[in-house]
Each structure stands twice: as C-alpha cells, then as structure tokens.
Amino acid sequence: MAHSDRVTNALWMLEALTAAPGHRLSAAEMRRALACTDEELDGYLDLLSTLADRQGGARAIAYRQGDSIVLEGDAARMRPLRLTAGESVALAHVIHALELDPNLSKRLERALIAPGIEAGNQQPLLATARTYGPFYQELSEAIEDGVRCRILYRAQTDAQPMPRLIDPIAFEAFDDYAYLVAWNVEKDAERRYRLDRISDVELTDDSIGRREPSDLTVEDHLAQTGTIVTVECPASSDDFSSWSGVVDVSPSPQDPCRLRVAVRVSTVSWLFDQVLAAGGDMKIVEPTAWREQLLRYAQELSQGNVAP
C-alpha cells in the first residue's frame, strides 16, 4: 500500500470518529470501511498516536476500548474535508458524462470539489464509451417523483423520432449503452429505451404509482419473443461470443471448419447488421424466409435504395 493510501485512510478515521456519536465507532465498522484486518487497524491507531504539536502541547488520542475505537479530546477532531484532487477529477468526469444540471455542478464545486477543478473545463483524462444523453437527470427526477412523460424516441428502425407516452421506472446499463426502463402506456407493456436515442422529454401533469422493473433478463425476453435462427460462421470466429440469445453451438454438418450457431433473435435488423458486418463469413441457414429477406435488403442497400 502506498504512503498516500495510508494517509487517506488515517484522515478518514479522524473524520469518521469526529462525526460519530461520542466520537466512538465499532472496530468492525472501521475494519469494513477501510477493508483492513484487525492488526492493520491497530497499525493505524499507532500511526495516529504519533500526531503531536510539541510547541502547543496538543496530541491526538485514539485508542481501542473493548470493541470500539475512541477519539479523545479536541485536538484531532476534524471537520469533513473536501474531496481529494483525484476524487474531484472523477466527480467532474461523471458530471460531464451524465450531463448533470450546471447549477448542481456549481453547488458541488462551492461545497465539495477541490479548488481549481471545474466540472466542465477539465483536461479530458477520463472517458467512457457509454453515452447517457442530455435527459438522464430529468428522467431520474421523473422516476423519483412518479411523473408520466412524453418522450421523442428514434428506435433503430425509425426514420424519425416518434412520440411515446411512458411511465419511467428505472435505469439499466449494459456495456456501452444506458437504458431507461419504462412502461409504454399505449402498448401497455414494459419497454427499454436507449438514453442516447431520446431527443426530447416532456413531463406531463399525471402522477403515477410506483412500479418495479420486471426481473426479466435479455435472455428471458428473447426466450419469450425471439425467433430461433441458425447461422453458420468460421470456427475461429468470435463474432457471436457477445450475443445474448445463443441456444446452441455445434460443428457444421457440411464443413468441420465452420460452426452452426442457433440464436434467438427478436429484431431482424439486428441480425442483418451482424451478418453484413461479417462480410460473407457469416451465413443465415434457417429460416429460409430470413435469408431471402436479407438478400433483398443487401441488394437494396448496395443500390442506395434503403433510406437511412
């Protein structure tokens, strides 16, 4: 462990003990918070016991009493510190990535963030490929307050954003995408909306009751609604390794160097994108109708007849 980590932990102990009722915390609580052993906790107590101001006569008194850790006297009591420089940079990144309200950002800067670090004006040293779009905070508050919303949403196959009336329920995230889980009022069913594809949010005056998101996984959803499609690809391919709906992988009966992958698919366009991106290495075996549909689509795409 680096010196700086030990200093961080010792400062945290002083903050925690100062704020605790009677300036006393259980040793178990401290061990858990510091992710350390009992011996290491004693090491920190020894470290704190070296703190002294010889000129002023003040010294830190922290000791173990039974199963508690106690801070005695005023000398080592400490108000909560601002964030460290590193924590401030991490926070500035999250504020920027989730496009949180600038007023909230300003309040955090005044109260908590280390001086000299501004949420919107930092050298970009941290990044995420996950995109939350500009409506995360508004939707978060709508979930919290139970408000029905009208959103403009452009699904993958839509040419233009279309309005949806929804009751927002929760957020989910997978890999590089963040989703709003919501009840689609017109469809009377739960749906997931990629946050980056929402182009407007309007809060209605309607209040809604609290709903819990269904605990259906992507696999469950595909099992309910998906069509089983068989594709063939080279045995060395890992193109399908990240797919959620794979139900079977076996050697191709015609070619031992190729695999047959049976996969549940709910969106035909998703599969076509995968097959096209493989540039002929991947082939739809069944159902035949999907093969024919793919051929028509590929030819139209090549001729520029598929509207973007």
């Binding site: 601002r82 109260a111 908590l112 452009r154 233009q160 954003p161 980056d196 182009s199 096209l276």
Partner: protein
Amino acid sequence: MPSYDEAQAIAGDTSAQRLLNLFFIFNASTRALSTEEIVSDSDLGYGSPQRDSDLRKFRRDRAKLAEQGIQIVEAKPLGAAESEESYWKLDRENTFATGGIVTRGDAQTLAAAIDEYLEGQATPLGRPLRSVRDKALELAEGSTPQTRDEQTANAFDPILDALWSAFATHKKITFSYRNARGEASKRSLAIYGIFSHEGCAYVTGLDDASQSIRTFRTDRIEKVWRPKGTYNIPNTFSIKDYVFLPFDFGEGESVQAQFSLPASMPRAAVLACTHGRGEVALAEAGSWQWTIEVRDIDAAASFALSHAREGLRPVAPQAFVDAWKRMIDKVVEAHGA
C-alpha cells in the same frame, strides 16, 4: 504482504507520519507558521543538516497534502515586508467541505448518478466515486461516515485501486500483463488517462518499454508493484483520442474517411456511434458528416455495415465505398444469389 507486516508498515510509515503531523499542527494552530519553524522541526520529520533538502521536502509535502484535498498556503502577517520569510497556514475554506450548499436532494441525485455510472463496469474510478458519493451524502444529511455499506467496502479491488492511486498521485506503476495472445510481460506505465469501453476498463499512458503511448486492459493486469517516480501529463493529451474503434488497428497508413448519419439522429446517438472521435458536423444536405482517420478500410466498411440500420453510410474516399460494396457482394454471394 501478511497482515502483521502491513500493520507494522502502517505504524512505522514515516512519510505518512510526517504528512499527517504537518496537517495536524496546521489544523491545531491559530496562527501562521514560518518556514523556519517547519523545516527546523526534527519532531515533525525535518530538521536535517541540509536545510535546502528540508525546504524541498516541505514543498513536496504541501503538494502531497493538496492531493488529499488539504491546502497549506502562504500567508504573510499584516504589515510584513516583502523580504521577510514566508509564513504558512491551512486554507480552511478550500480544505474543509462547506455545509448548507449541497442539499439532500442534490446528494441523492449525485449518489444515484454515480451508482448508475458504475453499474456493470469494473473501473478504477469505483473507489474514488464511492468515496464522493459517501461524502456528498454525509455533508447533506449530516450522517456519519461509518454509514459506508458492506457493498462499498467489498467493492474494492486491489489492482484497480492501485491503478487509481498511481494515476491520482501521478506516480509510475509497474505491473505484469498478459495480452490477448496470452503473452506475459512486465510493464512500467505513467498513466495519463483511464476509459471504459464495452464493460472493460483501460489505462493509457507512456509505456517505459516501448517509449510510446500504449493502452492496457485492466482485467489483463495480473499483479502490481508499489508506484514510484513522478511524471507530468502532457497538456495536449486527451483520453478521447484513445477510446478505440474497430478500424483503428492496421498495418498500413491511415486515411481520412467520411461517413454519414441521418440528421434525424439525436446528437447523443451520434456521440454513442462515433465515441466522440473525429469531427462531426451537420451538413447542408441534411445529414451528419463524420470525418475520422481510419487505419483499416475493410474494418471501417464492416463497422458501417454493423450500424447500417441506423443509417451509417460510407461517403469517401471511393476505396472505402468500394470496400463497403464488396462486403455486401460477398454476403449476397455467400447466400447463393
């Protein structure tokens, strides 16, 4: 390190003692302290025969405390002449959090945003962000820091924490790494930036072995050693340039390629597709035009096809458009048309 040895190391860490003591005496003092009072104090960890060395040590210690959020700043007493020696004090306003500004609602919004950000990704930002969340809630709700829950404590990962610590303190870190081909190597890296992509976290920085900027996937780091040796991050560095796309890897010269996306696509969706790389502009023709350096034209064509339904199309150069068409022809041929 066995627990007993680590306990001894904590108790006897003279650098940590000196830093904590420096903060302690400034926090306890009601007056500014002179440079001489500090650097001559052997109890504090200075007071060596080499005064210049102690002065440099005091300067480094102030910088290390600043990394912890503790600001020791120069303060001249009223009426002091310019030539008089420096005095130092704790900048309490910028060191301690200010209550009454962040509301309970603010803290809860922030906590939810941090939880959302961390969901589904193991990242070196886990530890600092959980600490931020706890501190914001403590400040707004007046709760005590012991409310850190078990989930928070268990979420600590020694390798990710060490990477964060090295980055936050600008210290080079040495680690053993196994690449995608299973080859092991020992690297020393000055971490310039951190990003997450498809559920994995990556560190990018100056790699000692190759003397070039390299990116390493954190879940392929098998062991880390204690960071040492400080570095500066070039002010022209931007981690956004390293959030890779599938066409970034290739042997040939890079070419500038142009893609188009429908104008009806929300700005955030464009950002999700492009990862914020290259130049994006809304063209008069009613589409987003994305211009970016491409090292592998075939991979770029494949990338365009993988987003075809969203409306991503190749525009230029012609070799890129041809590669895209060739790829479609192969799909058609493979399906026996």
